[in-house]
């Protein structure tokens, strides 16, 4: 990422980790922002495109991961806030584990 990037981190507490349904929600939300957004399961990477559903799902981040986000662009701050809130709110689903 060449621009100066903002970063954020959040503990992944969702019971099944970053599996299918959480990945879909996260990717859909990321796509609503113009900024380039990447995520990583740890501070040292690997960094993946948070707007790529295939890559996010393939990352298979388990429960307990401290997810790292970095974003560059005009709405980077808003994007990070929204993504962190989504993870913190358990992906807005009361039914953790319903769909892995």
């Amino acid at each position: 990422m060449s621009d100066v990037a903002l970063t954020a981190e959040v503990l992944l507490e969702h019971e099944v980790g970053l599996h299918a349904r959480p990945s879909v929600k996260l990717t859909k939300l990321a796509k609503t922002f113009q900024s380039r957004i990447e995520l990583s399961p740890g501070p040292d990477g690997p960094w993946i495109d948070a707007k790529s559903i295939v890559k996010v799902m393939a990352a298979r981040a388990p429960k307990g991961t401290v997810l790292q986000f970095r974003a560059a662009g005009d709405d980077a701050r808003a994007a990070l806030d929204a993504l962190v809130a989504l993870v913190r709110n358990d992906f807005e689903t009361g039914a953790a584990g319903e769909a892995e």
Binding site: A20, R21, V24, T27, K28, K31, T32, K51, S52, I53, V54, M57, A58, A99
Partner: protein
Amino acid sequence: MSNVGIVIVSHSPLVAEGTADMVRQMVGDEVPLAWCGGDPDGGLGTSVEAILAAIDKAWSEAGVALLVDLGGAETNSEMAVEMLPEERGGKVVVCNAPIVEGAVIAATEASGGASLQDVRRTAEELSAL
């Protein structure tokens, strides 16, 4: 609605409907979605006519991506694409991807307003993993 539409074509109506349920519950209502499967007698099969009707139901000016299962579903889908009126012909593609995973991923991509080519490419990325 300008998002790419998704059509699910399986030999089994249960598979097709179940896949559509997964798309609706996991991705939501932002993408036009239709499914077809089974023959009129209740057995397994696909028909060009039903596929054409499903394409019509999920029609979007942005195009329609088809996710299919085995053999006849693919050949009948390709036949249906060839039978479309000229103005729709270039806007419908059959994705080379697993039907369930491909449908969810194609719909996720489509829900963000991606082009038909991007929707197809994303679904087909799955097979490369």
